[in-house]
């Protein structure tokens, strides 16, 4: 039954979201402890996010003198909703696709483009100088990663001759896109880090802004912002796994298992980057993105185009 499949797909998106967020938080703790030279204690790290959540939730909500209360409430919810839509565009197994549209790449791109709005609102709403700087910085960052992100996804769509994600996955039956479009995945992951403002691109909430856009939030709102950020990371990893690593394709095991494995394979390095790569200054990132990354992504499209033409002969 069509409707039943859609309901199962929507529920699976929810499950993957929750599991992915928790896994991301756990991996972050594990890698952080290992790099810091502390004992890793994986079981303790498994409960630590809940403990952090409980301690944060018990704090009262703060406001500032004249905030924009509606957008301050909306920002984490909007970010999470956009990330959920992005995740919904990814096929989790053959036939299990919640947002089964003819142009999944465009849907993903549209959802991710609005992330800039959500993060800016989080910085704008408190009416405080440091979050304001964080919000505007993210606009510079957001406009800069947007083009490479969209263009490498278009390059991956070329061999499939379709903007829907399921055909892109099946077009990788003989060769994964990471092999035939080597520029694609690195550029995609770099843009993905910017999308989730994580690690080297954690510009809106960096330590040089004393917490930046999250400086004035406390209590449950702080938890929600973190959850939304981790959900963006999960969506980025899932889409990367589908488009570059062949999605559900793989021998022996069911498609869903392969999808999970490949998502985790992309999620762990994304998270670990935070502890190995220092934060990039905004200006340097903008110049590198426009002068180097965009030409590289256009080269990627060009290479993919030539390959597709040759294959069609």
């Amino acid at each position: 039954m069509n409707a039943l499949r859609v309901v199962i797909a929507v529920l699976s998106v929810g499950t993957v979201s929750v599991a992915g967020i928790y896994l991301a938080a756990w991996v972050d703790l594990l890698v952080g402890r290992a790099v810091a030279g502390l004992e890793v204690r994986p079981l303790d790290a498994l409960i630590a996010p809940l403990r952090w959540g409980a301690a944060t939730a018990l704090k009262a909500r703060t406001t500032t003198e004249r905030p924009d209360a509606e957008t301050w409430a909306l920002a984490p919810a909007l970010l999470a909703a956009l990330a959920a839509v992005g995740l919904a565009a990814v096929p989790l197994a053959p036939g299990l696709l919640a947002a089964d549209v003819a142009n999944g790449i465009v849907l993903f791109g549209a959802a991710m483009a609005l992330v800039v709005v959500a993060v800016f609102l989080q910085g704008w709403s408190p009416n405080s100088p440091l979050p304001m700087i964080g919000g505007y910085r993210f606009i510079a960052e957001g406009l800069s990663y947007e083009i490479p992100l969209a263009v490498v996804l278009i390059a991956a769509a070329l061999p499939a001759r379709s903007l829907a994600i399921a055909p892109i996955v099946t077009s990788q039956e003989h060769l994964w896109n990471i092999v035939r479009q080597p520029l694609g995945l690195p550029l995609y992951l770099m843009a993905g880090l910017g999308l989730a403002f994580w690690g080297p691109l954690a510009l809106p909430g960096g330590q040089d802004l004393a917490g930046g856009s999250s400086l004035e939030t406390s209590g449950v709102s702080r938890i929600l912002w973190r959850l939304a950020q981790l959900l963006v990371l999960v969506a980025v990893a899932a889409m990367g796994a589908a488009v570059f690593l062949g999605g559900w394709l793989g021998p022996l095991f069911p498609g869903a298992a392969w999808m999970i494995v490949k998502t985790v394979i992309l999620l762990v390095p994304l998270i670990a980057t935070r502890h190995f790569v220092a934060r990039v200054p905004t200006e340097r990132y903008v110049v590198v993105s426009w002068a180097i990354l965009i030409p590289l992504s256009l080269l990627d499209v060009f290479i993919a185009g030539i390959q597709a033409l040759v294959a069609a002969r």
């Binding site: 003198e65 849907l107 200006e283």
Partner: protein, 117 residues
């Protein structure tokens, strides 16, 4: 059609779910906001003006450049679908389009519009 409906359903369910979670804060940790608690934090001293301001002008040139490339992206979406059927001529035409826009980046870089952006 059900694809878009599902996507919208997920969007609104997540949005409303997060808003409900946020509202639950009132029951766990009631807020008693006082005037000194509301001062925006910049290290302990009180602010002078609102923080809301019209930001630096350098964002506007970068936004214009972004719009140009965004339009290119919009045209690349349908091009990707029909490209292989159209053959080499489609590749060459898109290549010319891209090169024209790359001149835009070169101009921007030389005009130092990306510095402090």
């Amino acid at each position: 059609m059900h694809g878009i409906a599902a996507a919208l359903a997920i969007f609104f369910v997540t949005l409303i779910g997060f808003l409900i979670l946020r509202a639950s804060e009132r029951h766990i940790a009631p807020s008693t906001s006082t005037a000194p608690a509301r001062v925006p934090f910049t290290g302990g001293r009180a602010p002078d003006t609102h923080a809301w301001n019209r930001y630096h002008v350098r964002y506007y040139p970068m936004t214009l450049l972004f719009l140009a490339f965004d339009m290119e992206m919009v045209f690349m979406y349908p091009w990707a679908v029909v490209f292989v059927d159209e053959g080499l001529i489609a590749l060459i035409e898109m290549f010319m389009f891209i090169v024209i826009l790359l001149f835009g980046i070169l101009y921007t870089w030389r005009e130092r519009a990306l510095e402090w952006a």
